[in-house]
Amino acid sequence: MTQASVLSVRNLSVGLKNRSQDAVLKNISFDLTPGEIYALVGESGSGKSVTSLAMMRLLPDALTVTEGEVLFEGQDLFSATEQQMTAVRGHRIAMIFQDALTSLNPVKKIGTQIEEALKLHTTLDSKARRKHIIGLLQEVGLPEPERRIDWYPHQLSGGQQQRVMIAIALACEPDVLIADEPTTALDVTIQKQVLDLIHSLSRSRQLAVLLITHDMGVVRETAHRVGVMYQGEIIEEESCDRFFHNPQKDYSRRLIASLPDQRHFRDSTPVDALLSVQNLKVHFPQRQGALQRIHNWTKAVDGVSLTLGHGETLALVGESGCGKTTTGRAILNLDQPTSGHITFEGHTLNTLSRSAMHPLRRKIQVIFQDPYSSMNPRMTVLRIIEEGMISLKLGLTPNQREERVIELLQKVQLEPEHRHRYPHEFSGGQRQRIAIARALAVNPQLIICDEPTSALDVSTRAEVLKLLQQLQQELGVSYLFITHDLSIIPQLAHRVAVMKEGKIVELGVTKAVLTQPQHSYTQELLRAVPQLE
């Protein structure tokens, strides 16, 4: 594109306020042209967000711009006064953030929050403003805006909140839109809608969009040009197509390679059932009134039936709140089922008492989503891993336990001496490995993996998944793999169960489900998954 750039960043550097020598950003430079979507890609901590904040002069107190300039229509924003800056923010350059819920003022109506921008930058009277706002809300696709204009953020769904954010950003017809991870917190289907929205807006309004994301899929789908950020630098800048076909830097290559391969599927052979769930129901009571009588039930899981064979992986797919996690907890006997049967090796788990359950616990283990909160920060890795062995009375001497731990650590590709460290000394990926080691410590037959990779960066995610598969081959352990990310399923799961509103809508062999989805919801999900080509 040869269009004049509306906003151009010239070798921008940002450092810590008190120790400005070690830089957070080093000589960042790029241009934004109208109607173009420029994607800034990088893994967490690469400095994407800092860039955007620096451009808006919204850096947190700890950080400070050490050099460089931001030219907006030819004039340097850094040399503008704070007052002039307020005139630019939201009016000429607008911004949307990752977590829409926290980014909206919880105690103000969304209408007021949009109106605020208008009040600041336009001369419209209140009537005109209201009209304008309703228009905006329609444009961003918020159903029945006349009513919702007086709602509070928490009354809206995540997608709707993000739409409101966009509405705020667009309120004063800005020339530049900075979108900082606008879809990370959203389910795939919503993500697709939002991205499409941004896409269309940039086209219709000749909007220059700076899209900050870590999801290559998203980039592929929406961006025109790509800048790859790595440790505070832009190491490669290319037009989208060229970037994906032959990336220059090998870091870029790793990024692309780390995207899960979605062409090959694991073929599954029917095996005898290890776990079988019949018509599982988990309902939570809703209390009300002076005497707290139960007046209604939240049906988290409403009649789920599935079986899982030895050494098999069953992926339980669904969007947030569909009850997949609750299912997992019920199988672990952490939540008490309302009805139904969970049979494991002939024992009906949900009827067992705490003590009767105890011996079975070593057979079923779990890996949690958040690698940061899933380990007690005050225990060494050794004690974290051996905790299960002790409580489940594997009858090992301390030395034997330690040996076992070492062995496990090696199995999950960590160093033996790591056992004396504390969790917060490890990266997310490493922690997830420790969590796996902990699960394996009591050599279980079934591990329930609750979104084990969704908090990880793409590259580490791939590694963890590979590890899990290896272990399955070695130990013949079965996984119930709970996830919202369809893209990782093909190479991972033998069979897939798609869950919606507490029910399983479709259950079958991975290939079948992903290639010829029967249920409309499954199809919708698949459509939403960003494709690389």
Binding site: T86, N105, L120
Partner: protein, 325 residues
């Protein structure tokens, strides 16, 4: 919401019973009614007969908690605890041990207490918030540091020194206001202004510092960043985004004490000779007047519980996310 309040009120009953039980035990675990009688009869020529009469008249001639030689329900009802403490639920406070009607005393003394407490409270909060906002405006600057240092020093000074010093300088040295006393009506401000000012000043350290931290927490939140990205100016951010949200935690701390204002401030009333409930309590405790103490404790806890309920209600009003149940 209504149902909620009902539930809270129901929940209050066992609490109040417990409160009564505690005070009751406190008083009668070591004191026998005879002791109380002696404490209230005169100095000279006290006969056993007189004590006997006093105890009988005051109705202390029952067993404390359980009446063995009564039968049926009377075993419970025919005791001091039932007749003295549980009667309070009917808001029948009875008479003080010196024969005066407690309800009237409480009512008459409430006025001065409030006259002192409410201004101190309102002005105090207002000033604290203003100061805190200013400081937050200059966060991460030397002004901020200096202010915090000032706050901490202020709150490190015992309230006694504020009162003693203030009274000495303003009233004794400079003769700007009466040293102590109270006149109801138009003259009142003359006596109240000094205690109020002192009360406010002595509160600034703690209050402003607390509000500052609350504001700072809010300032770092995403929606504030959003507001800035919208182009809202610093002041706008503070007043339209930070303040309303920071008010929520402030509510919890503040609303709960509002009813307790009725109880008056012990020190202030003692030092400035204001005939409020604070000094009333003090005298009662010193005179071991169980009748008054149990009443004040009862009233106090009722007000406290009221405060809790008020807090929740005010919360639902301030924060659309909160629903009572």
């Amino acid at each position: 919401m209504f149902a909620y309040i009902i539930r809270r009120l129901l929940y209050a009953i066992p609490i109040l019973v417990g409160v009564n039980l505690i005070t009751f035990v406190l008083f009668f675990v070591v004191n026998s009614p005879e002791d109380v009688a002696r404490a209230h009869l005169g100095e000279k020529y006290v006969t056993p007969q007189a004590i006997e009469n006093w105890v009988h008249e005051k109705g202390y001639n029952h067993p404390l908690m359980y009446n063995a030689d009564a039968d049926g329900l009377n075993r419970i009802t025919d005791t001091i605890f039932y007749q003295k403490s549980l009667k309070l639920f009917t808001l029948d406070f009875g008479q003080a041990d010196d024969g005066r009607d407690i309800a009237t005393d409480v009512l008459t003394r409430m006025g001065p207490s409030l006259a002192l407490a409410i201004p101190t409270f309102v002005i105090g909060i207002w000033i604290n918030i203003c100061v805190a906002l200013i400081v937050v405006m200059f966060r991460a600057t030397h002004l901020d540091k200096a202010a915090v240092a000032l706050f901490v020093s202020l709150m490190s000074i015992s309230g006694l020194f504020y009162i003693i010093g203030g009274q000495y300088m303003v009233a004794t040295l400079w003769r700007l206001v009466p040293i102590s006393g109270f006149e109801p009506g138009a003259m009142a401000w003359k006596f109240l202004i000094l205690p109020v000012v002192i009360g406010v000043i002595s509160g600034i350290g703690l209050g402003a510092r607390w509000y500052r931290t609350l504001f700072l927490e809010t300032v770092d939140q995403d929606f504030v960043r959003t507001a800035r990205a919208k182009g809202v100016s610093e002041l706008g951010v503070l007043f339209h985004h930070v303040l309303p949200n920071a008010l929520l935690p402030i509510l919890t701390g503040v609303v709960v004490v509002i009813p307790s204002l009725f109880m008056g401030s012990l020190l202030m009333e003692a030092f400035f000779g204001i005939p409020g409930l604070g000094s009333y309590m003090l005298d009662a405790i010193r005179a071991q007047d169980f009748a008054i103490v149990r009443t004040m404790v009862f009233v106090g806890s009722v007000l406290y519980i009221l405060g809790l309920i008020l807090t929740d209600i005010s919360y639902t009003m301030a924060d659309p996310r909160v629903r009572l149940n």
